[in-house]
Amino acid sequence: MSTSNDYDIVIVGGGISAATIAKTVIEKAAAQTPPRHPRILILEAGRATAMSADKYDTYVGAFQEALAKVPNSPYPASSSAPQPDVLDIGRPIMGPDGTTKVPSDNGYFVQMGPLPFGSDYARSLGGTTLHWLGTCLRMLPNDFRMRDAYRHSVNWPLSYEDLKPYYERAEWDIIGVSANVEDQVYPGIGGDPAKFFKSANTAKFPDGVYHFPMERIPSSYLDQYLAKKSAGLVVELTDREGRPHTFPVELSNTPVGRNSQPAEGYQVIGAVGNFDQGQRCEGNSSCIPICPAQAKYNALKTLYELIVKYPDRDPADGARKARVAIRSQCVVSRVRHTQQKDGTGTVTGLTYRTWFDDGSAPVDHTVTADTYVLAANAIENATLLLASGAANTSDQVGRNLMDHPLLLTWGLLEDGVGAYRGPGSTSGIPAFRDGSFRSERTAFRVEIGNWGWNFPENAPYDTVHDLVGGGESGAVGLYGRALRERLGEILPAQFRIAWELEQDPEPTNRVTIDDRYKDALGNHRPVIHYDLSPYVRDSLPWAAEASRQLFTQLGIGDQVRRPEYRPGDYTHYDPNDPSAVTHDGVTYWVRGAGHVVGTHRMGDDPTTSVVDSHQRSHDLPNLYIVGCGSMPTLGTSNPTLTMTALALRTGDRIAEQLKGNDA
């Protein structure tokens, strides 16, 4: 290691990017000539979560006891490292001139509007992989070249082909993805999934015939029912010029980071500290907010591997080995650097505060390293850089904040399909993910939900309230066997679809800081300006119309509303909801998908981007700013897989550049 610095690498944030980079650097550097054995420190702002299965179980208990079972409900927050919560989402009040009159600041975020940013993330070791769904779709080739293909948004400095080997490694070496190539029929890949997935790694995949490390997670009974009922359906939508666009409705089993039957030679990774548990998905039906078995990947698994293999002490046998230290409850407050305004410089250290919550004061520390990595989540990376006045010559830090604005539609089917069973989603309808329409309106992914009306109507709770009664009259509705029987008719027939829209990058959708808004440790809270562009809004009526055509085909075209229960389309949007968006006189609800993207975008041009294609700061060469924040555009894939692929590429680069006399 370096003689003068405390560590070779310090990573801010203990989530999947940090875990991936640490593991990649260590393994790659050890295999180089001469080998290197870096000393790495990971600083996690939040709590240590759990590094054993029994401790993890306490979070499962916290979820079960939580009143509102929202994504962050199992993971306690602290005022020293606060986290956003979907229960805090409120609507800011806007003035007639479009400026913010009263921000909504009842949670961690300060929402400046006009729309509230609707997503959360977890500040706890393991990061938001603690409560992600596990969807692992690769981005499509055109997603990387939106400017060239559709004259909209920007191109990536990377192509799908560039990223492909890293996607393979993310699927095999970090997450562990279950899928079958032949199921992955998407638009924009030339009709042949085998070609889309064809691997250059012929040593591992003879003739380049790619396969995932594990078999597909079986499609739900609902998926099978929908596939049968919608067979042959072609959704037709009309663009602004009156041209029809056709979308064949075909279901595709979704690749996921959830354990299944392994391919030959693949070692399934079970629960942290209890390898036998979580070898297969057991059908707990709670991927979000917590997988009790840990059959779903979370970053604790990779972090656990690191601290077991590379403990932070001198090896007893004198062998040279990398060392990894993980410290929780350490919030980095400043990136110290030598950068002058509009110039370059180097990072000279990080200032962080360790907090205790036991009544004693937090303690300040400074740590130095040869290489610094910010991997704290897109919004946290942005606030930290802005507070530090670092890496922002381009003025793009905090800008181009994106999510997958999500439109829900839901209905009661004519038949029981066994809702509330299995992973949150096992299939999607990929038809709307690419096409010439992307020059005028945004693409969307269709996720079929297996958990009834859990998301749109707080079911089964609200279904029980509807049937049992109470309220002003206090009178009893159904009870006894009649109640049990009616619930058995209604609940298994509930289903919902999420239409997840690709958000385009806009400089005005941004994270800023304001000295009036700080947390208990004195760090800046994210101040967020957020809206949906016309490009995004124009796809709301398309998604709604596609849903109507599908529901009609399913025989549930009738509009029905609770508390009445009969087969029909229950989709409705209350204009008073904080997530309400009105477009062409029609109101929609646009929820967040938890995909926080785009605040330090990558590019070749330092004047328009924050990092290069290796996620290295244009301004501060010993600083890498990593994660979903680096993505110039979002595509219609859930971003974690792409983030992991990018982290692998960054890890390779850091390993190549490891300096020091330790070797």
Binding site: Q64, Y221, S260, E282, G418
Partner: protein
């Protein structure tokens, strides 16, 4: 005080029989949750022993009449549709089905006042896991009692009752 000199049922026995009639789950199914005593004491704490005593007396009489007549009319008329007891019945059914206590509805608290515990709360992680709604749905509590790999691909089925 029953017909034919059979022993007087204890309040907890009455509570159990009442719960069977209100939920549509039999005594063995309710006992299997391990929560009869918990819910009995929960109810007593929240509505008070005095009001609970009145409820159990009315319920015992109605259930006895229904046993004689082989129907559920007396319980329906004298307890379920009785405005005095209806809000308690609503909360009790929801307690069994959802594992959470929901505050007493209607004008209950204007007549009886309110207790500190009469707020929405999950009784315990076990209560959540044993919510009857999941069985009624032919499912399992989300985040517990997993039915096994691939079970979600099978056609749904509801337990016969």
């Amino acid at each position: 005080m029953t017909d034919h000199g059979t022993p007087t049922p204890s309040p907890q026995q009455i509570f159990t029989e009442l719960s069977v009639a209100l939920t549509g789950f039999d005594r063995a199914e309710l006992a299997g949750t391990g929560l009869i005593e918990t819910y009995y004491t929960t109810l007593l704490r929240i509505i008070g022993e005095r009001e609970a005593g009145h409820l159990f007396l009315a319920a015992a009489e109605a259930l006895a009449a229904d046993r004689r007549n082989h129907d559920g009319e007396a319980l329906r008329r004298q307890v379920v549709e009785n405005p005095r007891y209806a809000p308690v019945i609503v909360s009790l059914i929801k307690l069994w089905y959802l594992g959470s206590w929901y505050p007493l509805s209607g004008g209950y608290r204007d007549i009886n006042g309110s207790t500190a515990e009469d707020v929405e709360h999950v009784v315990s992680p076990q209560a959540y896991r044993e919510g009857l709604v999941w069985i009624a749905a032919g499912a399992h509590p989300m985040g517990a009692k997993p039915p096994g790999f691939g079970s979600w691909a099978e056609p749904p089925s509801l337990p016969v009752f």
